[in-house]
Amino acid sequence: MSTPTYLGMPALPPRSPYGTGNLRGDRTFPRAAHDELRNGQLRRNLGKATHTIRAKRLAVTGELPDWEALRDAGSAIKTDTMNRLPELLEQLEAKVTEAGGTVHWARDGAEANDIVTRLVQQTGSDEVIKVKSMATQEIGLNEHLADQGIKAHETDLAELIVQLADDKPSHILVPAIHRNRDEIREIFRAGIPGVDPELDSVPAHLAAAARAYLREKFLTTPVAVSGANFGIAETGTLSVVESEGNGRMCLTLPDTLITVMGIEKVLPRYADLEVFLQLLPRSSTGERMNPYTSLWTGVTPGDGPQNFHLVLLDNGRTAALADRIGRQALNCIRCSACLNVCPVYERAGGHAYGSTYPGPIGAVVTPQLAGMDVSADDPNSSLPYASTLCGACYDACPVKIDIPSLLVELRHQHTEATGRTAEKLAMKAAAAVMGRPGVYRAAQKAAGLGRVVAGRDGKISHLPPPFNGWSDSRDTPAPPKRSFRAWLASAEGASALRAAAEEGARTRTEADGPDEEEQ
């Protein structure tokens, strides 16, 4: 293998191209959350879901005496993976190829979409069945295939609900959690051809309707598209972790399987599965193990798809890797534990983040993959602020990603990047004033004028631009009548200080007695 030759300085790798895929909403987080918070059903369902899964997760992680050791190992394995990414990807490619698969590389989402489209067209099929996959959602594969006349059928029950309703997922793990059973019945009645018009809203009956509809698709569609939870460099083994069996159907029954995997999903050794098969299900659904996991290596004669394609996707991942602090976010195994413990996510829901990746991890992954100051008022620049920095996400993360520190770093980068903002000017002015006592005194006097705009409750709720960004979401107490410095310099201040000093001296004498001072 030849060593790459550098012509000059290393270049910063590009982010996911602006205006492509699903890594940017159309409005900022506060604006989107403002509307989502009015959706009572969403809040109720999310509250129930996050609390239920949280309790289950705590119960099953508490069962393992070596849970913390598993987290340490998982975190270190992922960090080691990022350190050795080029060699591991080349090894994965060699092993998959050796086992009869074909490996493709995609610089960005558009290139991955083109590759998948071409591969589907080569089979002659105008339909594909799909396993729930975040990578293909990130790049907008379904929409792209539809433009090319190829119908993609989502086969995960929740993804099917979302797709039939022309909706967007609201949670990584339970994407249709914002819908209730009556809505799902209506969605199925309108969207599933030939469904029983008398279909009721009993969950078991709804699931049976989906089973009957999709079984025919599984048995007749010649191409499937999946994502991957892990790709093992040592052996070329790919893995999909799931519950319903739709994944097994897609990975087993069609002639052709196309798997789209982010380059950060590679793992060094087959034995590393012993760590991640414990970390992922317990953190994700709160189960000791998910019902089904499939592991396959290239092509097996007489068993499963005879054509296997692996598409390795960059789409901004190398840009994240170039950030000393931010690269940690690439360690994510998409378990969604951080969503379920986040007080902001629990209330605002997944749609408010505008990206395929919601919640705390989404707030650090999305800006890194797609950038956050690409246009004026880039919605992604609001994501690092969609957090109280309470740290619950860090505690829950099975691979110990320090999400709060990443959020703070991204806030810093945003402030650095946005130049002469009002906030920056205000900070500069404050620094100048605080450095000079005379000016500081004058400024304090002037601040007393702020009382004029305060309400009767002594709070300032609306500030004029450019400070409205501050007052939109918080009340500011009105400045006091007199500053502390002014009070201290007055006769009242002087006498209060004297009284306090006498009080202090008396207490000390009583308490210490006539003892010698300690040496």
Binding site: I77, E93, L157, I177, G245, R248
Partner: protein, 211 residues
């Protein structure tokens, strides 16, 4: 000469690593590996976990295998049973229904017409209640244990490990491997757990304690 996507991405990674140099990391592997447990404990743990995930559990000695299997199949009214080509046929000596021996040439829709399937298993993890199938001749191709609605799976206690690491070391990476923990399930509708969406809605496990 055009630069391929492969070259571009590998160069980007090397650029990224030059801009943000990695600090070396030692991987601490202090979690439990190589555990052993007495037979009775593994049996109890596995049974508990299987039942918790709504699998049906039958325990027997090897000599009673045919009877137990026949009982399970009779109870489920199985008339058309699929088996992998390498299954021990003596297991079926008490079963009276029709047997369909699967092969790579059997069209998948024919599997959909079976009432159930009977297979062996490769490894089982007690702590998680997970059965590993590795497509050996006594387990068959993956479609066989997926399409029919009932899966009867024989697990020998000697193949049951305490934890996940002990099970993973017994696997052959090149074999297509399926991990099964209870029947197919979903919680997608209002977080209500339902057994059986696409895979077999019933998983019956026959644990042989002296094998």
């Amino acid at each position: 000469m055009t630069v391929t996507a492969r070259e571009t991405i590998l160069a980007r990674i090397r650029d990224a690593q030059a801009l943000a140099p990695a600090s070396a990391v030692d991987i601490p592997r202090d979690y439990r590996t190589g555990r052993t447990l007495p037979d009775a404990d593994r049996l109890a743990l596995l049974t508990d976990r299987l039942v918790d995930y709504k699998a049906e559990v039958h325990t027997c000695t090897a000599d009673r295998t045919p009877e137990v299997i026949a009982d399970v199949l009779r109870e489920r009214a199985v008339c058309h049973l699929g088996i992998p080509p390498g299954l021990d046929r003596t297991w079926l000596s008490a079963y009276e229904g029709e047997v369909h021996v699967d092969s790579a040439d059997t069209p998948v829709p024919e599997l959909d017409a079976l009432d159930g399937v009977l297979t062996s298993s490769a490894v089982t993890c007690a702590e998680t209640g997970t059965i590993f199938l590795d497509a050996s001749p006594d387990q068959g191709r993956r479609a066989l244990t997926l399409v029919p609605d009932l899966h009867v799976c024989v697990v020998d206690l000697s193949t049951v490990t305490p934890g996940v690491p002990e099970a993973v070391t017994r696997l052959t990476p090149t074999h297509p491997t399926t991990l099964i923990s209870g029947p197919s399930a979903t919680s997608d509708i209002e977080l209500e757990r339902l057994e059986g969406v696409h895979g077999p809605r019933t998983l019956a496990v026959v644990i042989r304690t002296d094998m």
